[in-house]
């Protein structure tokens, strides 16, 4: 059978669903080498005839094709244990399915959402469903084995946030921007607009900005005035990831932003900020100070987001562009070919 298998090419189809669009990436492997790849985008968050036709035009060439999809369930996450006894401390797994990673941490998702995905794509069939946390850990595999840091995957409708230290998951949370937006959208936008309007007059007067819950949380990080010891500042500098900064400068992050992207970036910032606040507050986790944040950007954030983290959370921000479809495809390849 292995001999017969080696005679065929292998086709990996990866699907990433974003808001009202779906990206389909097809990579073709022959003898474990990538020989070709194709990508198409469709204006649907489900599956339509064109997408089926596009996928089947490649999958019909070989019986060895694998269709993978990135899980976009709202009820997913990751926890820092593989022990079934300890899982309940973090999440009720009765309605979820989970997968242990490196015998150290576990990512989980809703069983019903998995069934929904399989039912939705039953015309083409699904072979792999990957968690964004798998994508994140794989994408930053060169960084998660280092000192503690926040690793964030930014998607159109969700944010996957995790904290790793020496390849060990400390904390993770999957944030659905739509759900939180419903309750906080207006308040958030008003606050941002207030800041912008006041800034236009005579600079930002921090005292005049009304302190909301998010702003209060900044107090937990300590007052800037408390940082009177210059040695502490030097310690911060030592934690900077010089190599990552170099790559980031060469990649570049868009400077110009529209009002829409500005709002979205601020929303993302507030969500991440709230999640980090939870990390500090939750007694389940050791509240170690987070200095570096690595962002895998799949949506195209602006430099404003970076500025928020630097100015308001005093974090070193490193943004890498990520092609989610390619990353999902790489996970599928590693499942099959290794």
């Amino acid at each position: 059978m292995k001999f017969l298998e080696s005679l065929y090419i292998k086709v990996f189809v990866s699907i990433v669903v974003e808001k009202e669009a779906s990206d389909v990436y097809i990579s073709i492997y022959s003898k474990n080498k990538l020989i070709d790849s194709y990508e198409e985008s469709y204006d649907t968050n489900s599956i339509d005839e064109k997408m089926i036709s596009f996928i089947k035009s490649y999958t019909k060439e070989t019986p060895y094709f694998y269709i993978s999809i990135l899980d976009n369930s709202k009820n997913q996450g990751a926890i820092p244990t593989c022990s079934k006894n300890l899982m309940s401390n973090y999440h009720d797994m009765s309605e979820s399915t989970h997968k242990c990673q490196n015998s150290q941490w576990t990512h989980f998702t809703s069983k019903n959402d998995l069934y929904d995905i399989e039912r939705k794509y039953q015309d083409i069939g699904i072979d792999f469903i990957f968690s964004p946390f798998s994508v994140l850990s794989n994408f930053f595999k060169d960084k998660i084995d280092g000192p503690i840091g926040v690793f964030v995957l930014l998607q159109g409708e969700s944010i996957s946030l995790s904290v790793f230290e020496n390849s060990e998951l400390i904390y993770a949370q999957h944030l659905d921007m739509n759900i939180i937006q419903d309750t906080e959208e207006f308040e958030t936008i008003d606050t941002v607009q207030d800041i912008m309007m006041e800034g236009e007059d005579d600079g930002i007067d921090l005292d005049s900005v009304e302190a909301d819950e998010e702003m209060d949380s900044l107090d937990d990080f300590g007052d800037i005035e408390d940082l009177d010891d210059l040695d502490d500042i030097d310690d911060f500098d030592k934690t900077e990831d010089v190599e990552e900064e170099f790559y980031q400068e060469s990649d570049g992050v868009p400077e110009q932003e529209s009002e829409e992207t500005f709002n979205e970036d601020y929303q993302r910032f507030t969500h991440i900020q709230k999640s980090i606040h939870n990390f500090y507050e939750d007694s389940n986790y050791d509240s170690e100070f987070l200095e570096n944040i690595y962002i895998a950007d799949a949506v195209g954030v602006t430099s404003e987001l970076k500025r928020y983290f630097e100015e308001e959370l005093f974090m070193n921000v490193y943004i890498r562009q990520i092609a989610l479809t390619t990353e999902v495809s790489e996970l599928a390849v590693s499942e099959v070919l290794t």
Partner: protein, 180 residues
């Protein structure tokens, strides 16, 4: 599975299309093999029949040859029989002629007819009657004729006439020997 929540579907090269193709190939190969086996069987039976026929042919040829020999032998026998018949007829005629030769006055008591000889025993009143009436014709028929007389009590003579011919008549045994 290291990362995925679900395991991939089983992949096999035996897709429905391949299965259909293999089915057709299998049927075709089966039919070809069946035909080949049938042809092998027919060839075997043909060769077997051929051997049988060749054996039969050989037997028939042997029989034919034997029959030809028999025919030749029978023909020769027929010829011989005809020859003998002819000779017998000739002999019969000769005997008839012989008894016709014997005059009224001479009485034959015994006659020995051999292949190339004739021995006559009888009584004659005298030698002249014998010489003129019987000896003369005998001499004309046979190449060598010998006569001897001895007297009987009443004056008559008992005679013994031995006659030979030099031309040997063919005999059956002699013919058979010549054939071989």
């Amino acid at each position: 599975m290291k990362y995925s929540y679900i395991a991939p579907r089983t992949k096999t090269v035996f897709t429905p299309e391949v299965k259909l193709m293999l089915t057709f190939f299998s049927i075709t190969i089966f039919m070809l093999l069946s035909t080949y086996a049938f042809l092998l069987f027919k060839e075997y039976t043909f060769l077997s029949d051929l051997k049988s026929i060749q054996k039969s042919q050989s037997q028939l040829q042997t029989d034919l040859s034997k029959m030809k020999d028999d025919i030749v032998f029978i023909q020769k026998e027929n010829d011989l029989a005809k020859s003998i018949q002819t000779k017998n007829l000739v002999l019969k005629d000769s005997i008839t002629n012989l008894f016709d030769l014997v005059p009224q006055r001479i009485t034959l008591s015994q006659a020995k007819l051999d292949t190339n000889s004739l021995v006559l025993y009888g009584i004659t009143p005298n030698k002249d009657i014998y010489n003129f009436m019987l000896g003369a014709p005998l001499r004309s028929i046979f190449h060598r004729t010998y006569s001897s007389f001895y007297p009987v009590g009443n004056g008559w003579l008992r005679f013994v006439s031995t006659n030979y011919t030099d031309d040997d008549l063919p005999t059956l045994e002699g013919e058979a020997d010549n054939e071989n």
